[in-house]
């Protein structure tokens, strides 16, 4: 077999084991010696990548931002088709008098956990300059919002009248309607971020060309790999790009989440 690749992934859900066990077998059939390690949180994963103890990190966007600060030579080598051009929204109840974020002055806004890019860091930028009380739902801290529990809790709080507005990713506004958490017609979107990118396969020094080649070659028509792609939430892997992280970089700087050197400086963030 060719030289090995060690990937780090965060265990945000039991399915992560199924996914990477499956991919590991698939890579092995194609002569790539692949293995993976699981972390309980992204901060340790980033440290391990920067320290050269793993070859590639399946990183959240926030983890990518920190990686780039700790290791400026880092590259985003691949990402899912579903990691490109996402947006977050600020949502109110349908009967709310608010029609724009400026109408939320004095209101309470529910967000995801402190480290959720899509449900906290990015949408709160839309509320810059508006005097709001932020109620964070600290579920799955350290998972950078992968566990949407905090987002769902914020949505439930909006539904139940405990907050005046809630922040969430666009796909979850649709999901919560299907789940009945926020029934169709019960809410209004009053603000939406510009498109941004999400997770990527981050690499610092390792040679992972064969790994990337195989990722990009995965075919949704292949019944052996399609269930894994479905579990991981994509129909194809795409080359990595870094053009979609400017908003998050700015959000990280605005709240002092990480220092320029990649230290964790966010207030109230402990993993």
């Amino acid at each position: 077999m060719t030289s090995s690749v060690l990937l780090g992934a965060v265990a945000y859900d039991p399915k992560v084991v199924t996914i990477w066990d499956g991919f590991r077998a698939w890579f092995g059939e194609r002569d790539l010696a692949f293995d993976y390690v699981l972390y309980s949180n992204y901060e340790r994963q980033v440290q391990e990548l920067a320290g050269g103890r793993i070859d590639v990190a399946w990183n959240s966007p926030l983890a990518w931002v920190r990686t780039r600060r700790m290791a400026p030579r880092a590259r985003a080598v691949a990402m899912r088709d579903t990691d490109r051009d996402l947006s977050s929204v600020v949502v109110v109840r349908a009967d709310s008098p608010a029609t724009s974020v400026s109408d939320l002055a004095g209101a309470t806004v529910g967000t995801g956990a402190v480290d959720s890019p899509q449900a906290t860091l990015l949408p709160l930028r839309l509320l810059d300059g508006t005097d709001v009380r932020v109620h964070r739902f600290e579920v799955g801290v350290g998972l950078h919002g992968d566990h949407i529990g905090g987002e769902r809790a914020a949505a439930e709080a909006l539904r139940d009248g405990r907050v005046d507005a809630a922040c969430m990713i666009d796909a979850n506004h649709l999901l919560f309607a299907k789940e009945g958490v926020l029934p169709a017609g019960a809410t209004r979107v009053i603000a939406q971020t510009s498109p941004y990118d999400h997770c990527n396969m981050s690499v610092v020094n390792a040679d992972v060309d064969r790994f990337v080649e195989l990722l990009l070659g995965m075919d949704y028509a292949d019944p052996a790999v399609r269930p894994l792609l479905d579990l991981e939430g994509l129909t194809r892997w795409l080359p990595g790009r870094t053009s979609g992280y400017a908003q998050l970089e700015a959000a990280v700087d605005a709240v002092g989440f990480y220092s320029q050197g990649g230290e964790v400086t966010a207030a109230g963030y402990h993993v």
Partner: protein, 376 residues
């Protein structure tokens, strides 16, 4: 998009090739937000209100195969799993490893659809198909004989339920009418157990004796490892023998309840026998070597039961008393004669069914004679 609108978009996209553009218009204020999120998850590219159809929907069905249909195929793959016959089976689902009975030759009969339809239509209700209000006016000693016969029938029907149940989950769902028929066969036996149990206890008696020889005989049915031989021993031979027994009970029943339940069980058992003769006959036509295994199954079972007592004397004597209708000497003599003729009828029926399966007359007589003395 959050109230079913995605169905309309998906339908429009299904009608165009990958790369085609579909403009989505609507009045929902969240349309563009949801359209983008939905399209992203489905593998389409979305810019504003325009969706560029991706390839994922086509890729999902790449490699899909139709699971036969409308007729059955000779050897359905286990990868079709639980998929309905004739459906389009998306590749990548789980195999069904437990279905080792997956060859048409060994499980199918062209009679299966018709017999299943008859069975489904013939599921009588034990509560209403029998007049349980009939008085308990059978003489005490004859009632005891009826109860003993019922005791015997219950354990035999229990075995007749368990044997097909053992094999049911191993038959490939592609042969659904066979699976369905066996399900009705099991339900039939469940009803038989119920009505025989109810008849046994309806006049206040406790149940009779369960002979060790009878249970040993039934155990050999449960131990039979191969579907064809198990079905042959149970249904072609055993339940075939029971057709004569149930007919006998209907004729000589001392009360209307016994008569009714015997008739109802008889019509069910006739279906079971027809099914067994059907699938075994077609299996023999496809695989003549099966005949040797059937023959050896009879011999093996006979040898296994050599040291057992066979039909419990209590059961045999109960049949005599039941047929006699009383303990008067002449009645007992008549009853004895009727039971002798019953056994001759049973033998004749078995030989006829064996000949129908292609055994020669002489061999049919030999194999019939080796059939268990326990009837089933």
């Amino acid at each position: 998009m959050d109230a079913g609108g995605h169905l309309l978009v998906a339908r429009a996209l299904a009608g165009v090739p990958a790369g085609a553009r579909v403009r989505v218009v609507g009045t929902d204020p969240h349309l563009l937000v949801h359209l983008k999120a939905w399209g992203r998850a489905e593998g389409h590219t979305v810019a504003g209100d325009v969706v560029v159809r991706g390839t994922a929907p086509d890729q999902r069905l790449a490699g899909a195969t139709r699971a036969g249909g409308p007729g059955v195929v000779d050897h359905p793959p286990r990868s079709w799993g639980l998929a309905a016959r004739g459906s389009v089976v998306e590749a990548g689902g789980p195999d069904l490893p437990v279905v080792d009975l997956d060859r048409k030759a060994e499980v199918w009969t062209e009679l299966a659809p018709k017999l299943y339809a008859q069975a489904a239509a013939g599921q009588w209700d034990p509560a209403t198909a029998v007049d349980w209000s009939a008085p308990c006016d059978v003489p005490v000693e004859v009632e005891a004989a009826v109860v003993q016969v019922m005791t015997y029938l219950i354990e035999n029907e229990q075995a007749a339920l368990m044997v097909p149940a053992r094999f049911l989950g191993r038959i490939h769902p592609h042969f659904r009418e066979v699976v369905q028929f066996l399900a009705t066969q099991i339900a039939d036996e469940a009803r038989h157990v119920e009505v025989f149990t109810r008849r046994a206890g309806r006049c206040g008696s406790q149940l009779g004796v369960s002979g060790s020889g009878g249970r040993a005989s039934l155990q050999t049915l449960l131990d039979e490892p191969e579907w064809a031989t198990a079905s042959f021993l149970l249904s072609a031979l055993g339940e075939g023998t029971f057709l004569s027994l149930l007919s006998f009970l209907e004729e000589w029943a001392p009360d209307p309840v016994t008569r009714q339940i015997s008739r109802l069980a008889l019509q069910d058992e006739a279906r079971h026998v027809a099914f067994a003769l059907g699938h075994i006959g077609e299996h023999l036509a496809a695989e003549p070597e099966l005949r040797d295994r059937l023959r050896r199954a009879v011999l093996r079972r006979h040898d296994a039961l050599l040291t057992t007592s066979g039909l419990a004397p209590a059961v045999h004597d109960a049949l005599v008393v039941l047929a006699a209708g009383s303990w008067e000497r002449d009645a007992i003599a008549a009853g004895w004669g009727r039971v002798q003729r019953l056994q001759a009828d049973m033998d004749e029926g078995r030989r006829r069914r064996l000949v129908r399966l292609g055994f020669g007359e002489a061999e049919a007589a030999e194999l019939s004679a080796l059939h268990t003395r326990n009837f089933m």
